[in-house]
Symmetry: C2
Subunit: 253 residues, 2 copies
């Protein structure tokens, strides 16, 4: 049996962010499995059989990959950005833990990638240049009170916040509540960054503040970054401002 599963982060959109390791694995695979936009994003030079599925079936997809590997296939499960950050890696291990005992002995690995938050931060300057929290605002798999508690604790710790899944077509109230909570805990001048479709042709960054941020500007393709009290903006004539969080912290919280 020479089958394997690799959960592969494709990087955050741009071809130049696909690592050589990920490229090699995609070209060694016999099968590529994933959410259809990611499967479609794999270069045509990868000759594997493609199995695209819709959103929301992550554990089924993981089980399919494990079944195929157990039968000898070399399966790449693809994710956008880094597979370990709100990607397919956790779903795969969930399937391993709860699935057939033999699956634990399979050759399984995760291939790191450039995550959306790192790509967005690089595009903006260095907003994640000091201590930060990363969280998903989706209450699809965790209760809303847990999200509220975490937003509150991250604010009490004056962490920079990188927020995945801030909204979707049908889920917009959570963002309103989150922004209200953050406005009550952090200054209205706190810098807010909306990074839309980073690494794609339609890439766009909006730099605003908690006081002025318009929730209607946030979509499912937005990564939202909330600055700490130390995060700074460098204005430039006729160009986008840079935003960075200094490496130092001036006083005790």
């Amino acid at each position: 049996m020479t089958g394997w599963v690799r959960v592969v982060g494709l990087g955050a959109g741009k071809d130049e962010w696909l690592t050589p390791e990920a490229h090699r694995v995609l070209h060694d695979a016999t099968d590529i499995i994933g959410y259809f936009p990611y499967v479609n994003a794999v270069a045509a030079t990868a000759t594997a059989t493609r199995h695209a599925s819709d959103n929301g079936v992550e554990v089924d997809r993981a089980a399919q990959a494990l079944h195929m590997a157990a039968e000898g296939s070399r399966v790449a499960v693809v994710s956008g950005g880094d597979a370990g950050v709100f990607g397919m890696a956790s779903a795969l291990f969930e399937a391993v833990e709860n699935g057939e005992p033999a699956w634990r002995e399979l050759d399984i690995g995760v291939i790191a990638g450039v995550s959306a938050m790192l790509a967005a931060a690089a595009r903006i300057g260095a907003p994640l240049g000091h201590d930060f929290c990363v969280m998903s605002l989706s209450d699809y798999l965790k209760p809303w009170p847990v999200i509220e508690t975490r937003l509150r604790k991250a604010s009490e710790g004056d962490f920079v916040l990188a927020i995945y899944n801030p909204a979707s077509k049908t889920r917009t109230e959570q963002l309103q509540s989150a922004l209200e909570l953050l406005r009550n805990m952090r200054g209205k001048d706190t810098i807010v960054m909306l990074a839309h479709s980073i690494g794609r042709a339609e890439e766009r960054v909006v730099i605003t503040t908690l006081g002025e941020c318009n929730p209607a500007d946030v979509t499912m393709k937005t990564l939202l970054i909330i600055g700490s009290s130390m995060t700074r903006r460098i204005e430039r004539a006729g160009k986008d401002a840079f935003v960075y969080t200094p490496r130092y912290y001036k006083e005790a919280l």
Copy 2:
């Protein structure tokens, strides 16, 4: 004037983690500046002049890069992992903000990379598969009480914690204090991961618990990951266990 500065993340050690974008920039540069192990890590095929310096001179190094770019050089400032996460990017923007006004108008950019935490997480399983905090334990640039507050808030929010700079040859007390604080706030069975020299030949992972973690095992080459209450371990016969944090969260905090 055609000079520029790019702050380039080299990825976390392994050549296969250097993105094609970073590779292109290193080969277009006339000059490569950075901490000497990172400058030495750039492939010999990059023909730029190399300017290696020691640790602790980040802002001087950034100013040097900006001076050279202002005079027409194409300067790559190199960092390990991702330059935006406890790397050179923040130091560069600090130099831009406080330096010569003309520097703001230079062509400056950051090239994202595979950060140490993503590489370590991929090697271990998917410990960062749900909400997490990232922080440096070094009190070289921030007061210790800020670090304590952040460790406490991250624990109250039951975030997974990725800890950079947990110790150095001369700085070991901070780790002792941090582990004591974490043991008082999180269960002794909380999973702890020590990822040593990830992506290098001497790479080594230790999976232990808060109760059993030995601070003497942590060096300046260790990335420390502390699980949340949900983080799980999957045992395997004769192989390293996998550790992952599920995408779901069962109850309110």
